[in-house]
Amino acid sequence: MTIASSVILSDQAQRDARRWITERHRDAAGIDYLRTYLADAAVDANASLAAYAVNLEANLEAQEIATNIAQVTALGSLAVTTLAFTTAAQNFAALRAAYQFATQVQAIMIGDFLSARTDAQLQAAFSMTVGQVTTLRTSKLTPAANAAATIRASSGA
């Protein structure tokens, strides 16, 4: 999903020649993101609008990835993730990065999440062969899924 439209709703000069500018950025789902700022008199409002749309999209991507990773590291296979602004590949890449600094429980939950993916998804995510995926499941993911189940059982979840 991307920012589908960006418009300047108002550009109102103030006594000191600066301008209150309000922009509306609308994503493909119809959700609006407003931006209001006090611009210097010489600011190119249209250029600023376009630049902010790029930044906003990047922020929305980052927020979605951050939320997804938080879900995965906390809930494992029970995580509810979204791919509204990002691709699965982006999220898998972030998951790899998160794994490097994960706590023990977080690492287990990442393994549990991956264990619930299909072989095809794992192959695509990590550029693996079928055999490599089988080995990954046996050596890492299935034990992690079992450990996650034990953790959930022990916590009552």
């Binding site: 006594r15 600066r18 006090l38 210097d40 930044n55 922020n59």
Partner: protein, 479 residues
């Protein structure tokens, strides 16, 4: 309370007993082990550098903190005030993090996290417990990649952490760097040129994966390096309250991105600007934005003596009667007790030419002292009684506004009977979605704008104070 000395250039016995026998790293000194309340003296030429992640966990508590001072090793022993310096350096290199846990006061150190390609974060209070940390004259530097952040507070657990920076600099290497504040109160104050380094983050404040609540206050901080194209407060998903008070802003900076939900970030600024103005008071929330307007103003309305102004309330599509946009409070003083009084605020809008909103589109609410026995607030409002009732249309107030607003001028009035003379807080609430209202913040009817009093709002003291200052920009000094 022991004195422990740290100097990277020391070549003695490494006991920490004096400068000659100082520990060569902070980690070694902490592992001595030191106790809560102990004082760590770090030499002014200390320059430790570690290839590997470093976690400094001090044993201090909020009740008995440790003290870390950077001091001239050629001065008095133990050092005195004149010996204090701000040049000691604790650096991590490579793809590594630097984490500082525990409760302590730290003065004069430069902390730098790894310069690798990973998430080489620099964290103040990351462990899963409460931390109380105050830093003065310190620098926090991110030297690494786009994924590195300065992190304040634990990112994966709710803990009552408090971190204060006084005259502390944040330094960044990449525009994608930033400051994550989570599960913490963070106060940054009294800092000229607060942002340094090779890059200024595109978004200065955000929250990390934990998306935990935070409370952020910036007071007297120069953020002018973050100018056009930069955003101070990002679109966080966590419940965060942000106050900027008496700060220097960058020209054309965006103060806050569009909040994502009712419970997410709410940002307020008081007397903060890039130029020589002291009247900006703003609020950015999920339901709307309030700014200081200087062209669409009521003739003969509020002014700070130099600049006539009104409050511009811009609601979003998320504003509705049950959860409206609530403007910054306007504190006034009511000298009347035991008799009915009427307070009026004049307003206009961007509705169609000559059109008037209804009393459920925008209204006035007054919190007053309605009991002679307690200070419990009573409320009077001119909106409809409940969500199932219908609002009434405002009519023309006959007041003229400069700047050619589209909508007609109208007045919002409430009548109530205070039982004690004292403060009254006026709240304007706007529910009509995607609409702009202009409100003259100079109340008519009773008393005068009060200059000082403590609001009894259910906010922490700092918010209270900042809100009061926001109120100051609205009311104090306005005639």
């Amino acid at each position: 309370m022991a004195n422990v000395y740290v100097r990277s250039g020391a070549a003695g016995a490494g006991t920490g007993a004096d400068w000659a026998n100082a520990y060569t790293t902070l980690a070694l000194a902490i592992a001595k082990p030191i106790a809560a309340g102990d004082v760590l003296w770090v030499s002014e030429d200390h320059n430790e550098s570690t290839v590997g992640s470093v976690t400094l966990t001090l044993p201090g508590t909020a009740a008995s903190p440790n003290f870390i001072y950077c001091a001239n090793h050629s001065g008095t022993v133990p050092p005195v005030s004149a010996d204090l310096r701000a040049t000691g350096a604790v650096t991590v290199t490579g793809n590594n993090t630097l984490t500082i846990n525990g409760s302590f006061y730290c003065e004069g150190l430069i902390f730098t996290s790894g310069n690798g390609a990973g998430a080489d974060d620099l964290s103040c209070g990351a462990a899963n417990s409460a931390h109380t940390q105050k830093y003065k004259n310190c620098t926090f530097a991110i030297a690494g990649s786009s994924t590195a952040r300065i992190r304040i507070g634990p990112s994966n657990i709710n803990a009552a952490t408090y971190v204060e920076w006084s005259n502390c600099i944040a330094s960044f290497a990449n525009v994608a760097n930033g400051i994550y504040v989570e599960s913490a109160g963070f106060v940054w104050k009294n800092t000229p040129l607060a942002l340094a380094g090779a890059a200024v983050p595109t978004t200065l404040f955000s929250n990390g994966q934990g998306a935990l609540a935070a409370f952020i206050v910036l007071e007297g901080v120069d953020l002018s390096a973050a100018g056009s194209g930069k955003t101070i407060m990002g679109a966080v998903t966590a419940a965060q309250k942000v106050i900027l008070k008496d700060c220097k802003l960058g020209a054309s900076v965006t103060v806050a991105a569009s909040p994502t939900s009712h419970g997410s970030a709410e940002t307020m600024i008081a007397r903060s600007d890039s130029g020589a103005t002291n009247y900006r008071a703003e609020k950015y929330s999920y339901t709307g934005t309030e700014t200081t307007e200087t062209t669409i103003i009521r003739a003969g309305g509020a002014t700070d003596g130099a600049t006539p102004q009104s409050r511009k309330l811009s609601t979003t599509a998320n504003s509705r009667w049950v959860l409206p946009f609530e403007a910054l409070p306007i504190p006034i003083w009511c000298p009347v007790a035991g008799a009915p009084v009427t307070v009026t605020l004049q307003a206009t809008s961007n509705l169609a030419a000559g059109a008037f909103p209804n009393t459920d589109d925008i209204w006035l609410e007054a919190e007053y002292l309605g009991s002679s026995l307690t200070p419990q607030g009573s409320f009077a409002t001119n909106t409809k009684a409940d969500n199932l009732a219908a609002g009434a249309a405002y009519t023309s107030s006959g007041v003229s506004w400069a700047g050619s607003p589209a909508g007609g001028a109208f007045a919002m009035s409430v009548t109530f009977t205070p039982q004690q003379a004292g403060p009254v807080t006026l709240y304007v609430k706007a529910a009509k979605a995607s609409t702009i209202f202009y409100v003259d913040p100079r109340p008519e009817g009773i008393g005068h704008v009060q200059r000082t009093y403590a609001m009894g709002a259910p906010f922490p003291a700092m918010v209270n104070e900042a809100l009061l200052s926001g109120g100051a920009a609205l009311g104090r000094g306005l005639h």
